[in-house]
């Protein structure tokens, strides 16, 4: 959050009686949210098709506000702030439109409630439907979207019965991910999210980064891996950490229920990734709780095989081996290789072990391979 009073300010707008300054290019919504975050009185303008990382789109019209001098309300997510604008963000008329819009949207879906494991933004529609009491059942009619139960990919559930055509998925894939794997087929009520020739994601340009899943506000695109844990009891908790794979260092939240790791979501405020992830960071986490993990120390026995043992025994044996080598072959006979995957503390203690213990520099890491 930049300081609202910084010198890049170019003017101010009045929102609900408060003067808010803005910087070049900021939209009404951005200004209102930024000030809301600072003042601790969060901006209450609802949105559905908005993802702050994407270009303004203006599809859902939930964010409309009254602008003095304008005949119709304007979409605050797409309208750039101009000096002197006078805005009312939640008049009775506007709130009524929002409710009608939500009732209309609810009428095209199978259900409004979805498991929060579905994805980062999956509760957005549900929360707004609650807030506006929009489960009235009005506007009944045909449902839109057709689920792709035939797509066997293990990561992304394509439950388009739940799709509200906000196109966040398509836009995030294009603008944020640069993959352009999915698009909008057809038009009007019949629009459908698809890949070329209506195929499966695997046969498309999709890299399974999961970005579309995380931005979907209804769970129409959902994290199939995480949803396997729907039945696991307990609340979902999130722990912020860094992805374990490449050197980009994406911030992620690990989702847990009790002591089970049930999923990963990108950290939208991650300094290196701003919410982006790739297939590995997004979906390749369950090695952690895999059955084949080495769970106890092992030592090689007389029979030449490795056998489980206690830490005490194993550590003593490990230490003794190094001391023996030093005593028999000199301190330069001991060598250590640190990991490029383990944290600093591993590398630091390993080099200290060699340097302080054997007075040598016989330490390296695996960067050469």
């Amino acid at each position: 959050m930049s300081d609202p009073s910084s010198e890049t300010t170019v003017g101010s707008i009045e929102v609900d009686g408060k003067n808010l300054n803005f910087t070049a290019g900021e939209t009404i919504l951005e200004v209102t949210r930024r000030h809301g975050a600072v003042s601790g009185e969060p901006c209450k303008i609802p949105t559905l098709c908005y993802d702050e990382r994407l270009d303004p789109f203006g599809g859902c019209r939930m964010c409309v506000v009254e602008l003095e001098g304008s005949h119709n309300p304007v979409a605050s997510c797409a309208r750039a702030a101009e000096d002197g604008m006078v805005i009312r963000s939640s008049t009775e008329a506007v709130e009524k439109h929002r409710k009608t819009l939500l009732e209309m949207v609810c009428s095209e879906n199978r259900q409004v409630d979805v498991d929060p494991l579905s994805g980062y933004a999956s509760q957005e529609l549900k929360e707004l439907a609650d807030r506006y009491d929009a489960r009235s059942g009005r506007f009944a009619g045909k449902k839109s979207g057709k689920s792709r139960e035939d797509d066997p990919n293990p990561f992304i559930l394509r439950d388009y019965d739940q799709c509200i055509s906000c196109y966040r998925c398509v836009r995030v894939c294009a603008e944020q991910e640069g993959d352009y794997a999915i698009s909008v087929k057809g038009r009007g009520f019949d629009t459908q999210i698809t890949v070329e020739f209506d195929g499966h994601l695997k046969d498309s340009a999709c890299t399974f980064c999961g970005q579309c899943v995380q931005t979907c506000p209804t769970g129409a695109l959902a994290d199939r891996k995480a949803l396997r844990h729907t039945e696991v009891p307990g609340e979902i908790e999130k722990t912020r950490t860094i992805c374990t794979y490449c050197g980009v260092g994406c911030s992620v939240d690990i989702l847990t229920k009790g002591d089970s790791m049930v999923g990963v979501q990108p950290a939208m405020d991650g300094p290196a990734n701003h919410g982006a992830l790739c297939v590995k960071g997004q979906f390749a986490y369950d090695f952690v709780q895999h059955d084949e993990r080495l769970k106890t120390p092992m030592i090689r026995g007389e029979d030449g095989e490795l056998h489980p043992t206690s830490w005490d025994v194993a550590l003593d044996k490990a230490a003794q081996g190094f001391l023996d080598a030093r005593d028999k072959h000199g301190r330069h006979s001991v060598y250590a290789v640190a990991s490029g995957r383990a944290p600093h503390e591993a590398g630091y203690t390993t080099q200290k072990f060699i340097r302080s213990g054997f007075w040598s520099n016989h330490i390296d890491n695996c960067s050469r391979a």
Binding site: H97, L101, R138, G141, K142, I182, S183, R187, A205
Partner: protein
């Protein structure tokens, strides 16, 4: 001649301006449809992601992904044609693979059938004819005309014929003087957009002239400004642009070139609706004539001004007449409308400053450049400036295009000029602005033809299409077909329109919705009000005028309909 290969086609179009649509048409013309391989070739050649291209292709009604595709007939089932035998015709032709198409802009001569690159008209199989667009009848009131003044002259569609009536003299005059003079004339004439929105044309041209033109290195928007002639004419009941382009093509070209000169643009596009294939040929021929005569091209008539015009055919999408959607379509993008502001005058074609004008606007500008602002202002009734073409069709004795002074009484047009209703019938309702103005009926038929008067009745004049329905018609059926059109054409970008047009259609069809009048009306009104207030473009804002005016003028028919739905 061997058929061109995929690669030939791609190479041919790749480095030309706005290549996607013409390249797709080239494949379509070759194969009759767009195969997977064709899309792959286009995707590679133009570097458009395949999924995007697939999505975009499926947006257009007339692109077919499978044979027989273009070669199967398409029968107009628009609001006029369906009552003129279009529905029956479609049924008899189903065996030939015929499919319906929305209003194809031939309401003055129903029913058009489009096959490949040719339109025929007729209502009986075996009796179809290819005919030129009907000329407007001689002005019944003897009033002075602007755009139709010379259109009935034989040979007017050639350069020579056009010049005989003074064509291009305004342009030649303008090129010899400062663009500022031209801007002043157009502004003073009071000419405003004839495509629907009625924005003052001089102001628009000046805005483009004054818009910063990004230069190479500045940013990625660098390149020339452009002029786009909006010839998409997708509004049901509108067929005026067609007659102008078919019989007075040079007036359109002259208007574009004038806009280019005034606005400082170098490149022009005519975005022509798919359903006018013959018009494309007429325009191409006229462009060649003008280029050969040195009226288009580099350094025109030694003035230092360069301007070229390219015809680009749409592919069947009403929304592509909306200027943002049109620009996206030209650029090869998914044709959703754009958020406004910014407007095309600063962020138009390829995000550069662009004039977008309707065919009629541009043709009028050509006449104004020649005859002056005063003359044009004088054509309107009272304080109102200029004239408007009205496309009149439906249950009326003499359908066709009429150029009327602004402020002209609707009743005079209907009853005196166009011969009134069919014998023994009376006019139950008319649509306005094609169908975008909803219905006028009863005492509101006493309006005069100008925006202030029509808008005072909760409607609008718009592009000037008026369809007449006499007392033999079921207004719910009419309203349903109108709403079905909007639902069919809704682009799907914004929620109120995407869902609203669908829900209103269902309610007009009696397919869904409350079976009690009060509940039904509540739902229909709530949908209508959210659509009018929050839709992202004019389509969604206009569509509910249909239900609104239906409920206003025909409450008994609505009540009966809800009752029938209920039982």
């Amino acid at each position: 001649m061997p058929l061109p290969t995929d690669q030939d086609l791609v190479t041919d179009w790749k480095s030309r301006p706005a290549p996607l649509l013409p390249l797709l048409h080239a494949f379509n013309d070759r194969d009759g449809y767009l195969s997977d391989e064709a899309l792959r070739a286009v995707s590679q050649g133009l570097r458009i992601p395949l999924a995007d291209l697939f999505g975009t292709v499926t947006f257009y009604h007339h692109f077919s992904r499978f044979p027989p595709g273009t070669n199967a007939p398409r029968v107009c089932t628009g609001q006029v044609c369906r009552f003129a035998g279009g529905l029956e015709l479609l049924e008899t032709m189903r065996k030939d693979g015929a499919t319906p198409m929305p209003c194809a802009g031939r309401c003055d001569e129903p029913v058009p059938v489009l096959t490949g690159r040719s339109v025929q008209v007729g209502v009986t199989v075996g009796e179809f004819e290819s005919r030129p667009s009907p000329l407007p009848v001689a002005n019944p009131g003897g009033l002075e005309e602007c755009v139709f003044a010379a259109i009935r002259n034989p040979g007017n569609d050639t350069l020579e014929g056009y010049r005989r009536a003074g064509g291009y003299s305004g342009y030649e005059g303008a090129l010899g003087s400062d663009p500022e003079n031209l801007l002043t004339v157009i502004t003073d004439s009071g000419l405003a957009g004839r495509g629907g929105a009625g924005f003052p044309t001089g102001v628009k041209w000046r805005a483009v002239r004054e818009a910063l033109n990004p230069r190479p290195g500045d940013d990625t928007r660098a390149g020339p400004k452009s002029v786009v002639c909006n010839a998409d004419e997708g509004e049901p009941g509108c067929f005026k642009d067609r007659v102008l382009m078919d019989h007075d093509p040079h007036a359109v070209l002259e208007g574009m070139a004038l806009a280019g000169y005034a606005a400082g643009a170098e490149i022009g596009f005519i975005y022509l609706r798919y359903e006018y294939p013959e018009t494309a040929d007429i325009l191409d021929r006229a462009i060649t004539e003008a280029e050969n005569a040195g009226l288009l091209g580099e350094n025109i008539l030694g003035s230092g001004f360069s301007f070229r015009i390219h015809v680009r055919r749409g592919a069947g999408a009403y929304i592509c007449g909306e200027e943002g959607s049109l620009l996206n379509s030209l650029e090869g993008k998914h044709p959703f409308p754009r958020e406004r502001p910014p407007f095309p005058v600063t962020h138009g074609f390829e995000n550069r400053p662009t004039v977008v004008n309707n065919v009629e606007t541009l043709a009028s500008a050509a006449a104004i450049a020649r005859r002056g602002a005063e003359w044009y202002r004088g054509l309107g009734a009272g304080d109102l400036a200029g004239t408007k073409i009205i496309s009149l069709s439906g249950d009326i004795m003499r359908p066709g295009n009429y150029e009327v002074p602004f402020g002209f009484p609707l009743q005079t047009l209907l009853n005196d000029w166009a011969g009134g209703p069919r014998p023994g019938r009376h006019i139950q309702a008319v649509t306005m602005a094609g169908i975008s103005g909803g219905f006028l009926a009863k005492e509101d038929l006493d309006v005069t033809l100008d925006e202030p008067s029509v808008r005072s009745k909760g409607s609008m004049l718009g592009a000037g299409g008026i369809m007449v329905f006499d007392d033999s018609r079921d207004m719910l059926e009419v309203a349903h077909s109108c709403m079905e059109f909007f639902a069919h054409e809704s682009c799907g970008k914004c929620f109120p329109c995407r869902i609203g047009t669908q829900r209103l259609t269902e309610r007009l069809a009696g397919a869904a919705g409350p079976g009690v009048l009060a509940g039904w009306s509540d739902e229909v009104e709530d949908i209508g009000s959210v659509m009018k207030a929050t839709s992202a473009c004019g389509l969604g804002m206009a569509a509910p005028l249909i239900t609104e005016s239906l409920m206003r003028y025909f409450p008994e028919q609505v009540a009966a309909h809800v009752e029938a739905t209920n039982s």
